[in-house]
Each structure stands twice: as structure tokens, then as C-alpha cells.
């Protein structure tokens, strides 16, 4: 296991699959006045009385095909339809890919957004847009890792930390499965960056790196060492200078010690304590599933934002075979997560978002595969008051463009922040003094409020 600050991740190296899709739409018509007023008020303050949501952000890096997951086009010609069939879900009229059967049985827990779109059909830019809610100001290449704006998770960390709403010893923003390409804190500074947890929670000896005491050291010995350190570390600290690097070491050290010794954080990370039946439900050998379980444990303990990064959804080639291999893993994990959250009453204040940086092209290429496609994609969203068993928006008959209720990544970002009780119209200034908004434009998606 390792904890680290963001590393990038590879792709454009094809694998994958995913499928399915939908039918009825919930809304998509004009706004009524009361709705408009409600939206405007939502800007000023987040929902009161309710517990603000924590977020589990499931990111399928590479851009999973919406055709093979949540937006199947069974009536389209074969070169668009693909090999997979669509199946009924437990909500009448909504159909998704045949390779997501378990997910189909929890359709009543989540909503499919079928009309979020953007024009950044490459990994870096799309990833940046979907992770931060902010488009890259300039075109960026396929392989680069860019940060022009803090990730939504970093803003969440900033909000919870600066408002004192975070429990002692808990990290405010966690990345499982390695760092996200654009998951960094940018101008908010490293204090709001993600705690990146790598490694394989499905393995029996999974431990979050450096949080558990190493062999031969118990807490008494750690405390003795700390005592020794405090007596020996006499380098002068600058009382007047908050940016004194020596003082930074003290504060990071204190936080590290809290993580090591805090029962809350340790317990949350200790997936071995989980009921074996629950672990089994997520798939005991299912790496992504165990990450989902770990994410549930973290939000349960009070961590406001957990992102899971799962790469390999860039299916230019071998689309159907890869999807047949990968979708059952996703299916098992995602359905288990929703069921588990629901059973524990956690779904009410946990927002689960399943997305990638873009969708795929309607036409199947010779690979066979589908290429990058920002204008069409599907996002599954559940919890925190999101009405389950619904579909918002639709793509056209070929699955290329939104045909109903077009939505933007900014709309999604506003929705997430709104559910978290974060004032997303707050203005920040970057290091150059340039004014920046958390989200530039957009509105919360009213069907989800």
C-alpha cells in the first residue's frame, strides 16, 4: 500500500468495455418560477437542516463507452449498436447493458444522467473538466497530466477544513487507486491535496501505507520516540512566520501522528475489520469492489470526499471482449456499494458518482472499438436525495449528442457542491491574483435536488 501525493496514470493503451442504457426521462422541460427561485436560493446557501453529503467519486479513467454501459441503443444499426443487448432493470422502462445485471437490480437506487457533454475529447482535458468542473484553458495533449484548477475534492477538503466540520484525525480528501490526473489542489495549496492511497485492498495484507505501526514498534515506542524527538529537535522555529518550513514539519508531523494513532482513521482504513459477508458482497477478489468498500468505510467515518481511480477504460480496440471482462467487476462492486450504503442508512447523505472523462464514438471502428467522444456520455449518480430509478436527459438515436436536457460538467459540479453544502459561487484568487470561481457557470441539476 502506499500513500502519496498525486501520480499520473497511463492510458490510450486500450483495454475495456462497459455498456447499457436507458429509456424514459424524468424531466427536460421548461423551468417553473418556483423552481427557478429555488435554484437561485440554492446558490446562496446549501440545504439546511439536512446533513451535508459526503461524496464517493468513482472515476473510470479512459472514457468508458456509454453504449456498452448505461445508454444502450438496441434499435440502432449494428455498427452503432454493438454486440451487447440491453436488459430491463427493476425500474420499468429503464434499460442498461446486459453485462450489468446486478446494477440493473438496484436501478431504483440511482439516476442515470445521459446528457452531460463537452467538447474535450481527449483524456487530459476531459479528465480535467470532469474532475475539476473546469475546462482546460488551452488544449492539452493526450498523455499529459494537467492542473489548472483545484479538483472538486480539494475544494471539499478546503470547505470542511476551514469551517471546522472535519473530525479530528480524518483526512478530508482521499484518492484510492492512485492519484487522479487532475486531482490536485492547485492554488489552494498542499494542505488540501488528496491523501493518495495505492495498493490492493483485496489482498489479505492490505494496509494503508505508513498508517499502521511497523513491526517492532508499538504505540509506547512511538511515543517514546516522539518524546525523544521533541527534546532533540531544537532547530529554531519562527514564531512570526506561519510559512516557516520547520513549523510546517511540526504540523504535518502532528497530523501524521493523528492518523497513526486516531482510532477513527485507523479503524476506517482497516478493511480487515469488515464483516466477511460484506467483503464477499463487494467481491472478495474484486479490487475495485474492495476499494468501494474502503470508500464506504471512510465516508462512514466522516471523510467528506473519496475518489477511486480505475484506469483502463480506453477501448479503441477489443471493446467487447474487454468489456465482458471488466463490466462484471464494475457491476458487482457498484451494486454492492449502493445496497450497502442503503442498508446502513448512509445513502441519504452519501453521493455516489460513477463517471469517466468522456463517452465513446457511436460508430464502432475496426479495432473493434470506439474512439474518444466528449459530446455523449453517461453518468450514474445516487444518494443524498438524488431520486433513484430515474433518467435525466437523453442522447439522440445514434448516441452521439444530447437530444434532451443538455447538461454540462459545470452543472454536475454545481450539483455535487450543492449537495455537499459548499458555496460553489465563492470566488478565489490564484497565485497571480487572477480571480477564479469554484465553478464557472452552470446550475445544479434540478431533477436531482
Amino acid at each position: 500500500m502506499k500513500i502519496e501525493w498525486g501520480t499520473d496514470q497511463e492510458n490510450c493503451a486500450g483495454v475495456s468495455r462497459r455498456n447499457f442504457l436507458k429509456v424514459g426521462t424524468l424531466a427536460g422541460m421548461g423551468l417553473t418560477l418556483p423552481e427557478l427561485v429555488r435554484l437561485r436560493q440554492a446558490h446562496a446557501a446549501a440545504p439546511t437542516g439536512k446533513k451535508p453529503a459526503n461524496v464517493i467519486f468513482l472515476f473510470l479513467d479512459g472514457g468508458p463507452s456509454h453504449f456498452e454501459t448505461f445508454d444502450p441503443k438496441p434499435d440502432a444499426p449494428a455498427e452503432i449498436r454493438g454486440e451487447f443487448k440491453a436488459i430491463e432493470t427493476n425500474v420499468s422502462g429503464i434499460r442498461i447493458s446486459e453485462h450489468l445485471p446486478k446494477t440493473a437490480k438496484v436501478m431504483d437506487h440511482f439516476c442515470i444522467l445521459r446528457s452531460v457533454s463537452h467538447n474535450d475529447s481527449n483524456h487530459s482535458a476531459g479528465n480535467h473538466f470532469m474532475t475539476t468542473g473546469h475546462p482546460t484553458p488551452i488544449p492539452v495533449g493526450c498523455g499529459s497530466t494537467v492542473s489548472y484548477h483545484p479538483a472538486m475534492g480539494a475544494f471539499a477538503a478546503y470547505d470542511r477544513q476551514t469551517t471546522g466540520k472535519l473530525e479530528r484525525g480524518l483526512p478530508p480528501y482521499v484518492n484510492l487507486g492512485g492519484g487522479m490526473r487532475s486531482g490536485g489542489p492547485n492554488f489552494l495549496g498542499p494542505a488540501y491535496g488528496p491523501l493518495v492511497v495505492g495498493g490492493y485492498p483485496a489482498s489479505d495484507n492490505f494496509r494503508v501505507q505508513d498508517v499502521s505501526l511497523p513491526p517492532g514498534v508499538d504505540q509506547a515506542r512511538l511515543d517514546a520516540r516522539k518524546g525523544l524527538l521533541s527534546q532533540l529537535d531544537r532547530l529554531q522555529r519562527d514564531a512570526d512566520n506561519v510559512r516557516d518550513p520547520a513549523r510546517a514539519i511540526d504540523s504535518y508531523g502532528a497530523k501524521a501522528y493523528e492518523l497513526i494513532t486516531s482510532p477513527a482513521a485507523k479503524a476506517a482504513f482497516d478493511i480487515g475489520k469488515e464483516d466477511p459477508k460484506t467483503r464477499e458482497m463487494y467481491g472478495r477478489k474484486n479490487h475495485f469492489g474492495q476499494q468501494c468498500l474502503l470508500a464506504r468505510r471512510l465516508v462512514e467515518a466522516g471523510v467528506p470526499w473519496v475518489s477511486i481511480n480505475w484506469g483502463g477504460w480506453d477501448h479503441h480496440f477489443n471493446l467487447f471482449n474487454d468489456m465482458k471482462r471488466m463490466l462484471p467487476t464494475l457491476d458487482e462492486a457498484y451494486s454492492a456499494l449502493l445496497r450497502d450504503l442503503k442498508d446502513r442508512g448512509l445513502l441519504e447523505n452519501t453521493l455516489v458518482v460513477l463517471l469517466g472523462e468522456m463517452g465513446r464514438t457511436p460508430k464502432i471502428n475496426a479495432g473493434p472499438g470506439r474512439d474518444h467522444w466528449g459530446p455523449g456520455m453517461s453518468i450514474a449518480i445516487a444518494g443524498a436525495g438524488v431520486p433513484g430509478g430515474t433518467v435525466v436527459g437523453a442522447t439522440d438515436k445514434d448516441g452521439g449528442y444530447p437530444s434532451e436536457r443538455p447538461l454540462t460538467p459545470q452543472d454536475l459540479a454545481c450539483t455535487l457542491f450543492h449537495k455537499m453544502g459548499v458555496d460553489y459561487r465563492k470566488e478565489f484568487h490564484n497565485e497571480l491574483g487572477r480571480p477564479l470561481q469554484m465553478v464557472n457557470g452552470g446550475d445544479p441539476i434540478r431533477e436531482l435536488l
Partner: protein
């Protein structure tokens, strides 16, 4: 409808209610300090007023024995011919009738004079779009990046950022939106005026009141036909007076901003200027250009911006109780650096810290010059050498031993390893971009370059003019990593000129002088760099000069002539590689950027803060903290033929570099004048090597021979947990900012609690195991640990504390050693270079 209005009302309340210039936070002082004046000065010496109602302000300065004070608002004024002009109590002269007059200024028994000339006071001329209309919109904030200068504009109306494109702005106002924005028949009905005065709802709120001077001016302009004469002389620059001044706490200083036009005419635009202080607690400025200092001492830069042009006034506020010049008379001085640093310290009245002791110097300079910690033996030998030189073991520095140390360090092979690592970060030596063999070739070239101390002008020349094969030659890889002229332009500019131009690629930089013309002109130098595949096909690349290829300005579509930054076209001979001309310009001794950029970068790495910081971000609005020092370093560097080792030696020898990092009374807040050594975290590679060396359990790197240190690795993409945790550059851009220098929780988790650290402490063989097994006394063991980790002997007190760790209950001798070393490796004294 009533309901719908709610949000509108909210937005109005949230918007600024008036376009009136911002009031300063600081209050004007009740009284100005009494001072004995030696003389009085008035600026300008000749006040020229052109046109009806023209105004110009004067600045009155009283010269005192120790400096200067502002007398602009305290002086009495008299104009000998009151028909020609009048002057307000705060020094603004207004034209009345054509003629000449004499202005007499008196203050505290001294007097000064200025001529006043009024011309064309009766001339009737149309409102000038460039000189009058645009400044009003600018002052109203209309063309800020958050309002109508936002990309895509606001509410369908787009202005250029801070008026850099007057043609487009004129079109937007007078022609677009079906001409609704101006109504030449009934000017008051112009959308422009109705919006700005909130006669109809305006998202930006009220910008000025109906009937205000701005309103009248715009209405007149519309009535006159909303014209723009493109022949009007363009604004060339703005100047601010005084540009630099020491002002006591709680005092004031009037600023004068003068616009200089292409036809040579000058105009007082103070009242139309937007002022901003970067440190309002030190000095703030109001809309009239009156700057007020606070009670805190420090420095501030006041930016004066008019029509997109910027000038900066720098102000230092010394403490209320200034130190006597004697306090600075006997500071240790080693070379010219110290004269200039001390001059600045005296100006701000801050005393530097004491010199650091020899052990601290040894550790510091070893890390800074060769990225390598001294071993215990090296520390022992050096400290002994110092004692011998001094004749005792006090903490007075031993200058000769220090000098010999620097010479010795610079001749070690780690010197090349460390600086090549630094430069491979900046030059994108990244196997993902270059393939492993390309990265390896470039890495080798860099190590050779530093090993042979290649003069830096030659180094830059070799990089920017590189041709050849990426698998075989080093520098061509830079062009493989950056195949586009635009990327090369901005990367070369940031690397070798210290100028960040990326904003200018898409738009005029709102805070800078660089335009898209500048950007594409510079990038055009690289328009003919070509590459083709070498053999094996698809792997190695051949970089060559292609003799054709141009770069076009994306908006004007004009083919850009290759242009030096801030200067005219490059002199390129027929058929010559444009980059050769670039290299000539770059490395000419008179190049205004090159030497300053590299000395600042090196100074910043050594001293913990650049004279310009960030080190690769030179711009008007980011002024150097010590301009004369930067100039002197650059001059010395050029005189010594761009010799990097000479530069490092000069810095390492200075008293400024040799100060303690501990603050002394009054200098703890200094973060820019080098009153002490600024602590910094060891870079990831250096820290990893240091831990490996101290514990005797070095890291092994896959694919590299055993014993390879982190600063010797060629492969920056090799997955090494430690380096990821402590942050190493990803080598995707040439920005120095890619290297994280901050600490983090995971870093501390790693040092405190990781299995690998515990393994380094417990493994056999290791430093701990060999000490534990040895017959050494506890005192000797602790000494050895201190010398290894901190390059110094423990104090008696530390010895006592450490030894107590050996005798804790149920603790073996080995565990005791482990715990003491754990504590040392987790201390700020170890993690930081201090």
C-alpha cells in the same frame, strides 16, 4: 414577475454601488513629521498643459538630511499669473488661458519653482476615443477579466482585456449589437449609458451616476459620432513618480502617473489610473494616487495601471525606530554581494543574523552545491580543520577552511550529478517523451556538460540550436519533447530568459507588456525546426533545420517575422538557421534577460529565495527585491564568461550565504532581503540519498547499477515511492514550479512510521547494527549518529537526553540506537537545509 425580480435585486446589491475609485484602507496621517529640510524639489520642472481644462499634478519633495519626505499636500502654492492657470491645495494645476506662468512652492522655509505653459486652451476638439473614452471604461472596471473582458464577453458585449485592442473595442461599442449601444441622435438613450448608469438593469451594477463627468464625456463622444481616429498616437508607456522611495511609517506619498504617447506627448493620467498595492498593510493607495504607509515596516510594490500599461512604484517602510548607520558599519563583508545586501538591509533597517557555525556551513553548502550530505568522517575532518585554523573550537567562522571546502566540493563528481539532475527536470529528460534511449542520451550529455563546467552561454547555445539524432546526441531531445514552435517559444523564454509568456499565446497578458505579437514573433524562431524518423524507424528522431515554414498570428493571420523578445527582428543571414540568430542574441553580453535569469535561478536555489521569485517569472509587476544586486551578479557572471562554478563560489563565499538561519530580534519577518539563511526542505532525491547514506542502507533503483544514488538516476519515471512522496518533477514542463518543495502529511508518515524507514534502522548491516555491535561507548555512539545525520557534535545536554534512550526499561542497546537515529531523522534539523 415579482418573484422573478428577487434574484435581480440580489445581484444589484452584491455589485459595487459606485464606480468611485476605491478608498484606501489605511487612514491619512493626522500630521506630517516635522523635519529640517535641506532643499525643496518640484516635479515636473515644467508643467505643460495642452487643450481646454487640461490638468497636471505636481509632486513636491522635501530633501532632509536622511532622505526625502512628501510635501505635496503640505506646501503652499502660488502662480504668478492667475489668469493662465490655477492650482489646488493638493498640487493639481488646471489650465485657464493660453500663456506662461511661474509656479512657486514653499515649505518649511524652503522654496522651489516650476514653469507652467498653457496652450490651445480655447481649442474645440472632439472627444478622443483612445485618450478619453477608453480610460473611462477602464476606470469603471468594464474591461476587466471578470466583466466584459471575460472570454466571450458578458451579456453579449465583449471588450478586450484592459483595452489592449482598441479597434475591437470600438467596433464592439459603435458597430456591434446592431448599433444599439450608441444612439448618435439621442446620446442619453445609448445602451452604453443606460446600462452604465443603471437606468436599465445591468449585471455589473451602476458604474457612474447620471450627469457625472464620465457620463457627460461619453454622451459627448456619442453625440460627436462615436468616432475612433486610428491615426491617434498610441500610448507607449506609463511612468510613475517617484518610482522608488523610502517612506517612514504612517506617512504619505503622492504619486504622479504620466502617459507617454508615440508622438512624444506626455499627459498626467493619475486621476484615470488604477492603483493596487501588493501589501496593503505596508502601504496602501487611494484612487487619487495618494499612497499611505501603515505602522508595519516592510516593502510594497504599488502597481499603477492605465489602459493596459503598467508601472510600479516601490516603497520601503523602515521601522519607526531606525537603526543608526553605525549598526551596519562593521557587518562581515566577503564580496560585492554583501555591500549590496547590506545596503538594502540598512534601507529597511533590519540587522542580519549572526554568521552560522562551521558545522552548519559544511552541511548547508554540501547540500546546496553537490546535493550530498557530508559523511561523519568528512564532518570530523572539516571541523578539525576549522579548529586548527582558528586555534580553538569556538563558533567564529574559519574562512579559509570554508573556501577550501567549496573548492573541494565543486571538483567532486556529485557536483555534476546534482546539477544535471536539476537541469534534466527543466529540460524534460523524460522517457515517456523521448523513449528510454533518448532520455539516456540527453542525461549523459547533461552530466558531461556539468562535469566539464561548460560555460552557460555555450550550454544554452547547444540546447537552442541543437540538431542531430535523439538516440545519439543529447540536446536534440529537447525539440523532440517540444515539437511545436509555440511550446518551444514559451519554454525557451521561461528557461533562459525568465519570462513566462504562456498567457500571451491566447490573449494580451493583463499584467504584462507581452502581446500576442511578441509571443508569435518569438515562437516563429522555431517555425523551421523539423524532425523525421531515424533508424530504427519510429524510435529515434532526427532534428534538423528545414529552411521553410512560418508561423502565423492566429488572429491577424499575418506571417510573423522571427523576433527577439522585446526587441526588433533578429538579424538572420540568408539560409541561416533562425535559432543561430537567437543564440547570438541570447548570449550577447548586453542581452537584458539572459544573465539575469540564470544568476537569479542559481541564487534562488542557493539562498532559498530568488531576487525575483518565482525564479523564472520576471515581470514588471514582480519586481526584484534588490535590483542592484541582480545587476551586479549578472555583470560578474558575464565578466567571468558565464562560469557557473564561479557564480556558485561567489555566492557561497558571501557573508549573506553564511548567515545563521536563526532569527534575531527584528529580522524574523524578513523573507526577501537575506537577513538570514532561509530554511528549505531537502529536494526528494537529495533527502533519499541522505537517508541511505546516514543509515547505511541505500535505496536500490531498478535498472540502475547497485550503488546508484538518486541524483545519478537517468530515469525520472521509475516508480520510487519515496521520490513520489517527497515530490519530484514530472518533467512535463520547463517550470521550476514542477518541483514541490513543501512538506506533507504522507512525507511525515513515511519518515515516522514506514516499514522501509524502520527497515533502514533495524537491518543488519547498517549504521545502527554496526554501532550497536561495536565496543563504542554510548557517548561515542551518539556522537557518531550526530555527525552522520547532522554533521555536528551533540551538545552535552543532547548527549544526556540521547543516552537516556539507551537505558529505558526493556530496551536493548540496538533499540536505543534505533530510537535516537529515528529522532534525528525526523527532526526539522535533518529534513531541512538550514
Amino acid at each position: 414577475m415579482r418573484i422573478l425580480l428577487v434574484p435581480v435585486v440580489i445581484s444589484v446589491l452584491a455589485a459595487p454601488v459606485s464606480a468611485a475609485p476605491r478608498a484606501a484602507v489605511l487612514k491619512r496621517p493626522a500630521t506630517l513629521p516635522a523635519a529640517v529640510l535641506r532643499s525643496l524639489e518640484v516635479v515636473p520642472a515644467s508643467v505643460k498643459l495642452e487643450g481646454p481644462g487640461a490638468i497636471h499634478r505636481v509632486i513636491v519633495t522635501g530633501i532632509t538630511p536622511t532622505g526625502a519626505i512628501d510635501g505635496t499636500r503640505k506646501a503652499t502654492y502660488r502662480i504668478d499669473n492667475p489668469k493662465v492657470a490655477r492650482i489646488s491645495a493638493d498640487g493639481v494645476v488646471t489650465a485657464l488661458a493660453d500663456g506662461d506662468a511661474l509656479l512657486e512652492v514653499r515649505l518649511d522655509g524652503k522654496s522651489a519653482r516650476a514653469r507652467v505653459q498653457v496652450r490651445n486652451s480655447r481649442a474645440v476638439r472632439p472627444v478622443s476615443f483612445l485618450r478619453e473614452v477608453m480610460p473611462v471604461l477602464g476606470r469603471g472596471g468594464c474591461n476587466q477579466a471578470t466583466c466584459h473582458a471575460k472570454q466571450g464577453g458578458k451579456a453579449g458585449f465583449q471588450l478586450s482585456v484592459l483595452a489592449f485592442d482598441p479597434d475591437a473595442d470600438h467596433a464592439a461599442l459603435a458597430l456591434q449589437a446592431g448599433g444599439r449601444r450608441v444612439d448618435r441622435v439621442t446620446p442619453e438613450n445609448s445602451l452604453l449609458l443606460r446600462k452604465a448608469t443603471m437606468a436599465i438593469p445591468h449585471g455589473g451594477g451602476i458604474r457612474f451616476k447620471p450627469g457625472a463627468a464620465e457620463h457627460r464625456l461619453l454622451a459627448r463622444w456619442v453625440a460627436e459620432g462615436a468616432r475612433f481616429d486610428p491615426a491617434e498616437a498610441a500610448l507607449e508607456k506609463v511612468e510613475v513618480t517617484p518610482a522608488e522611495r523610502v517612506v517612514g511609517p504612517s506617512q504619505e506619498q503622492q504619486l504622479l502617473v504620466t502617459a507617454v504617447y508615440a508622438d512624444g506627448s506626455r499627459r498626467d493620467v493619475t486621476a484615470l489610473t488604477d492603483f493596487k498595492s501588493d501589501e496593503t498593510a505596508v502601504a496602501d493607495v487611494d484612487g487619487s494616487g495618494l499612497m499611505m504607509t501603515g505602522t508595519l515596516s516592510g516593502e510594497a510594490a504599488v502597481m499603477a495601471r492605465f489602459m493596459g500599461k503598467i508601472a510600479v512604484a516601490r516603497v520601503s517602510v523602515p521601522p519607526a525606530k531606525r537603526l543608526s548607520p553605525d549598526a551596519f558599519a562593521h557587518l562581515p563583508r566577503q564580496n560585492f554581494i554583501d555591500d549590496l545586501v547590506h545596503r538594502k538591509l540598512q534601507q529597511v533597517s533590519v540587522l542580519p543574523s549572526e554568521p552560522c557555525d562551521d558545522a552548519t556551513y559544511l552541511r548547508r553548502v554540501s547540500i546546496d552545491l553537490i546535493g550530498t550530505l557530508p559523511t561523519a568522517e568528512e564532518a570530523r575532518a572539516f571541523l578539525e580543520e576549522c579548529d586548527t585554523e582558528r586555534g580553538d573550537s569556538s563558533t567564529i567562522p574559519a574562512p579559509k577552511a570554508r573556501q577550501r571546502l567549496v573548492e573541494a566540493l565543486l571538483s567532486r563528481s556529485e557536483y555534476a550529478d546534482y546539477w544535471a539532475t536539476r537541469w534534466s527536470n527543466l529540460l524534460l529528460v523524460n522517457r515517456d517523451l523521448l523513449l528510454p534511449r533518448g532520455a539516456y542520451a540527453f542525461d549523459r550529455w547533461l552530466r558531461d556538460a556539468f562535469q566539464s563546467n561548460l560555460p552557460f552561454d555555450q550550454f544554452a547555445r547547444d540546447v537552442v540550436t541543437a540538431t542531430g539524432e535523439t538516440y545519439r546526441d543529447g540536446p536534440p531531445n529537447f525539440f523532440r519533447a517540444l515539437p511545436k514552435p509555440e511550446d518551444l517559444g514559451k519554454s525557451v523564454s521561461q528557461l533562459f530568459l525568465g519570462v513566462r509568456m504562456e498567457c500571451a499565446q491566447c490573449h494580451h497578458h493583463p499584467f504584462e507588456r507581452w502581446s500576442q505579437e511578441d509571443f508569435y514573433g518569438f515562437a516563429a524562431i522555431f517555425a523551421r525546426v523539423k524532425q523525421k524518423s531515424g533508424y530504427p524507424e519510429g524510435y529515434t528522431s532526427i532534428i534538423y533545420n528545414g529552411f521553410d515554414g512560418e508561423l502565423k498570428h492566429p488572429k491577424t493571420e499575418k506571417t510573423m517575422p522571427p523576433t527577439a523578445l522585446g526587441g526588433g527582428e533578429l538579424s538572420i543571414t540568408e539560409g541561416e538557421d533562425r535559432r543561430e540568430a537567437l543564440a547570438r542574441w541570447l548570449t550577447a553580453p548586453e542581452n537584458p534577460f539572459f544573465a539575469r535569469a540564470i544568476v537569479n535561478r542559481v541564487w534562488g536555489l542557493m539562498m532559498g529565495r530568488g531576487i525575483v521569485e518565482p525564479v523564472d517569472d520576471f515581470r514588471v509587476t514582480n519586481p526584484a527585491t534588490n535590483e542592484p544586486l541582480l545587476d551586479a551578479l549578472a555583470k560578474d557572471f558575464v565578466e567571468h564568461r558565464y562560469d557557473l562554478k564561479h557564480l556558485l563560489k561567489t555566492i557561497a563565499a558571501s557573508a549573506a550565504y553564511q548567515r545563521s538561519s536563526a532569527a534575531r530580534a527584528g529580522n524574523a519577518r524578513d523573507t526577501r532581503n537575506y537577513a538570514r539563511y532561509f530554511k528549505k526542505r531537502m529536494p526528494a532525491e537529495v533527502l533519499l540519498d541522505a537517508i541511505g547514506q546516514v543509515t547505511g542502507v541505500p535505496e536500490n533503483f531498478r535498472g540502475h547499477p547497485e550503488g546508484t544514488r538518486a541524483i545519478q538516476m537517468w530515469d525520472s519515471r521509475l516508480d520510487v515511492d519515496f521520490l513520489e512522496t517527497f515530490g519530484r518533477p514530472v518533467r512535463q514542463s520547463v517550470c521550476e514550479c514542477e518541483r514541490p518543495t513543501e512538506g506533507s502529511v504522507p512525507q511525515m508518515l513515511h519518515l515516522m512510521n514506514s516499514f522501509t524507514m524502520q527497515e533502514r534502522l533495524t537491518r543488519d548491516p547498517s549504521l545502527v547494527s554496526s554501532l550497536a555491535k561495536s565496543t563504542k561507548s554510548e557517548d561515542e555512539i551518539v556522537q557518531e549518529l550526530y555527525l552522520s545525520a547532522l554533521s555536528r557534535y551533540p551538545t552535552a545536554e543532547e548527549l544526556g537526553v540521547a543516552k537516556a534512550a539507551f537505558t529505558r526499561e526493556k530496551v536493548t542497546r540496538k533499540q536505543g540506537v534505533e530510537d535516537v537515529l529515528w529522532a534525528l531523522l525526523n527532526s526539522a534539523e535533518f529534513i531541512l537545509n538550514h
